[in-house]
Symmetry: C2
Subunit: 115 residues, 2 copies
DNA sequence: CCTGAAGAATACGGGTCCGTAACGAATGGG
DNA sequence: CCCATTCGTTACGGACCCGTATTCTTCAGG
């Protein structure tokens, strides 16, 4: 289940997946995509400050992205009981499914590329 | 100059490239990306109506995307002299460079992926 | 205790995008 | 010649996002 990827094809892939996202309706900004995938690809725990630092964005960007992603049930927030200043970002079933679907779409579109 | 792409890695790639776009500043919406790449990957001529139809979006979306892309000098508009109702969308040097850089970034990020 | 620092959230002002609807220019058949 | 149709743009209202600055809570050290 692997596909090859070359220069012009990578652009076609980028095009196709973005178009798929537009039609699917789940339209997130580049920052939100990066934040969501960091949460699901990097090892927990994740905090607002940690994500902001790791991704090189400001904290309000992370807070607002979590608001949006939370509305979609893609992530959940939980107070850190050890240090109640921190907020732990948790994964959700819906979020895991969405990320998995994205991965499937990328692979599917990649396989449809002309040889 | 080809890389292999598998499921989890495709997500990491998606993450890395989006993060690169955030830091690079060139932040376009999914619709705008799809429109820009269609202009540069599909054979001309391109019109507003044609792009809207091909991508399954409304005409105002295309018009506004062209406004934004035009401000960046990534595309240019030209009246069709044969039928002056039509607008022909033309590629530009700056746009071609931007698309090429995007392709390079995707490949570069893909090659950095863990084997 | 009390105070300074840290973490996250919120307020504010500005910008951009969307969808629907309305508009003006241009065309071509009757 | 007109008038319906086509094409692209613009207007409007609403939603979202950003960066900076500020607020609120919580922690920790003196």
């Amino acid at each position: 289940m692997a596909v090859e990827l070359r220069a012009i094809q990578s652009l076609k892939l980028w095009h196709d997946v973005h178009l798929g996202l537009v039609h699917q309706g789940g339209d997130l900004s580049s920052r939100q995509i990066a934040i969501l995938l960091t949460i699901y690809l990097d090892a927990p725990p994740h905090t607002v400050r940690g994500l902001a630092r790791k991704l090189g964005v400001t904290k309000p960007v992370v807070t607002r992205a979590l608001d949006t992603l939370g509305k979609l049930d893609f992530v959940a927030r939980k107070r850190d009981e050890a240090d109640r200043r921190n907020v732990i970002i948790q994964r959700t079933v819906a979020g895991a499914l969405a990320v998995e679907r994205l991965g499937d779409m990328i692979i599917a579109r990649a396989k449809e590329l002309p040889r």
